[in-house]
């Protein structure tokens, strides 16, 4: 674990850059992590991010399938929003732990 300053806020991050404490997250942090990955966030991105955060708070396991059934985006749209990392990148930007699901 290390401390990193993202968008002017000191946050605890894992070796791979995932936030250790999701309550330290804010939209500015999301935007900065996203731009490091090369993604520019739109309101649709934030809908997905908020969904991921709600599910994580409720301690529900996340899969791209569950996001695809959320009513926010289908799986193809999810890939379009977070290319090459539909669950990995979205989780990192949402300030939640690295996904442990294989699906």
């Amino acid at each position: 674990m290390s401390v990193k300053t993202i968008a002017g806020v000191e946050v605890n991050v894992s070796e791979e850059g995932y936030l250790e404490d999701m309550s330290q997250w804010n939209e500015g942090i999301a935007k900065e992590i996203a731009s490091e990955i090369g993604i520019e966030l739109t309101p649709k991105h934030f809908e997905v991010l908020n969904f991921l955060r709600e599910k994580t708070e409720a301690k529900e396991g996340l899969t791209i399938r569950s996001v695809g059934k959320s009513g926010i985006v289908n799986i193809k749209e999810l890939y379009a929003l977070f290319p090459k990392g539909p669950l990995k990148f979205s989780s990192k930007i949402a300030g939640i732990p690295k996904p442990t699901s294989c699906i």
């Binding site: 396991g61 899969t63 791209i64 399938r65 569950s66 695809g68 289908n74 799986i75 193809k76 890939y79 290319p83 090459k84 990392g85 539909p86 669950l87 990995k88 699901s101 294989c102 699906i103």
Partner: protein, 166 residues
């Protein structure tokens, strides 16, 4: 010595068997690769074709005879004689599918859609398709093409490519 990481860029999977667990092994690995941003091609051949044949793909079975890893619920060994009784294989396979669904593993048709939604490609083996007297219309709509193994190998170029046979 260089410590530079050389991540996989392409994964090519060959699914040649049609049991529930063989097809799902291929699908999970393919979908996992797509989710990691790795270019993914899957080639279904021989009995593996059941995994992309409309009529069969959502009714795959797991073998209840000749499968030493098969257990009764609770962990007791599964008697081979029991596995051969009519209906047992269907019932066991149905139970397996239910348990997989509980882990958010989708049915085969939906799994194929997930893979192609992320840009993964699904192919059928021409030789096997001819042998089983199938046509393109018998196969899942997610199948890009019916190709020869030679054509599949052409897709497996690149020095960060792995071919996985299940």
């Amino acid at each position: 010595m260089s410590t530079e990481k050389k991540p996989l860029e392409k994964v090519c999977l060959i699914c040649a068997k049609g049991s529930l667990e063989d097809v799902y092994a291929s699908l999970v690995m393919a979908n996992g690769a797509v989710m990691e941003g790795i270019e993914t091609n899957v080639f279904f051949t021989f009995f593996g074709l059941d995994g992309i044949t409309k009529k069969a793909m959502n009714h795959l079975h797991t073998a209840t005879t000749g499968n030493p890893a098969m257990r009764m619920p609770g962990g007791l060994p599964f008697p081979t004689m029991l596995g051969g009784l009519p209906g047992v294989e269907s019932a066991v396979s149905g139970m397996m599918r239910k348990q997989m669904e509980a882990l958010d593993m989708p049915p085969v048709d939906e799994f194929l859609e997930m893979i192609t939604a992320g840009g993964g490609k699904i192919y059928a083996c021409k030789l096997a398709v001819d042998m089983f007297k199938l046509e393109k219309k018998d196969l899942s709509d997610e199948v890009s093409d019916i190709i020869t193994i030679g054509e599949f190998y052409e897709m497996c170029d690149g020095d960060r490519t792995q071919i996985i046979f299940t």
